[in-house]
């Protein structure tokens, strides 16, 4: 497996596929073109048009607000706008999935962010000495947010929790290494 292969496979797993949107767009455009070609052919062999001839379509399109039902027109415009936005954003946004890659000499290893969050939460709660339900970890691409609600009367050292979580991230060789933010809640939980 060459590095290029590895990069390609990782990218395929880390970003969502655009094939669905691309296929839909291609099918819609192809059908539209087929229909227009069919109408043009009918006109060229002198047959009556199936729905409207190309000339009539142009006339209808250029005089558009015209006599059409305004509600139908508005609904159609919104649908076209939504479709356009969807296709545009599909093309421009990176489409990252909630996953991270882990380097491994023999295989491509991809981990869901929930799994990383569970690992970090376990480490953080052992470090802080609190119950599992007192720790909340959210993992995104660049940032790990750790929220700890201390037990009343037993202060939690934010620095120690931060160091432990960073150590856990390094141990698991998460790539790219996210930044860690630890927040200790002001109010605590009585007992455990």
């Amino acid at each position: 497996m060459t590095p290029e292969d590895r990069a390609r496979i990782e990218a395929r797993e880390l970003t969502s596929a655009r094939s669905g949107a691309a296929i839909t767009a291609a099918v819609v455009v192809a059908l539209l073109c087929l229909y227009l070609m069919f109408e043009a052919a009918m006109k060229s062999i002198g047959q009556p048009a199936w729905v409207k001839s190309p000339d009539e379509w142009w006339a209808w399109l250029s005089g558009l607000p015209g006599t059409a039902d305004p509600f139908l027109l508005a609904a159609g415009s919104l649908a076209v706008l939504a479709l356009g936005l969807f296709l545009l954003l599909s093309g421009l946004l990176p489409g990252r999935r909630a996953r991270h890659a882990m380097p491994d000499p023999r295989a491509v290893v991809i981990v869901d962010n929930e799994v990383i969050a569970a690992t970090l939460a376990r480490r953080a709660r052992l470090e802080a000495g609190v119950a599992p339900e007192q720790v909340l970890v959210v993992v995104s691409r660049q940032l790990v947010e750790v929220q700890v609600r201390p037990t009343s009367g037993i202060p939690v050292a934010a620095g120690a929790v931060q160091a432990a979580v960073e150590d856990e991230l390094r141990t698991n060789r998460i790539d790219p290494l996210p930044e860690v933010k630890v927040r200790i809640a002001e109010s605590g939980v009585v007992g455990q």
């Binding site: 000495g129 009343s152 009367g153 605590g188 007992g191």
Partner: protein
């Protein structure tokens, strides 16, 4: 936790904290433990103890005790210190509500 500490997790349950507070308060104020009611609350990450208990008063003719109010107020420090010593939890406040009095019968014998 550093590496030389044995791996594991220690927890003190709410019931244990409440029972400890009840025992300490009963001991400090000199009342039977079942007559003490304890509520535990959170005070910005530290513990707040609320004690509801009757206080003993001396009978007429016995050695005069300090006023109820002063005892209820001043012995809170003692309750807090002993509670901290036993449980290791930080206590930010101790509220005492005197719900009644107990006639001190121990003087009658003498």
């Amino acid at each position: 936790m550093s590496a030389d500490v044995l791996a594991g997790h220690t927890r003190i349950s709410t019931q244990a904290l409440a029972a400890t507070a009840r025992g300490v308060a009963a001991d400090v104020f000199g009342v039977p433990a079942p007559s003490v009611r304890v509520a535990l609350n959170d005070e910005y990450g530290e513990l707040a103890l609320a004690l509801n208990l009757p206080l003993p008063i001396g009978r007429a003719g016995g050695t005069p005790r300090r006023p109820l109010w002063d005892r209820a107020r001043d012995e809170r420090t003692e309750v807090r210190d002993r509670f901290i010593q036993l449980t290791g939890s930080r206590v930010a406040r101790v509220d005492v509500r005197v719900t009644g009095i107990i006639l001190d019968t121990s003087r009658r014998a003498s």
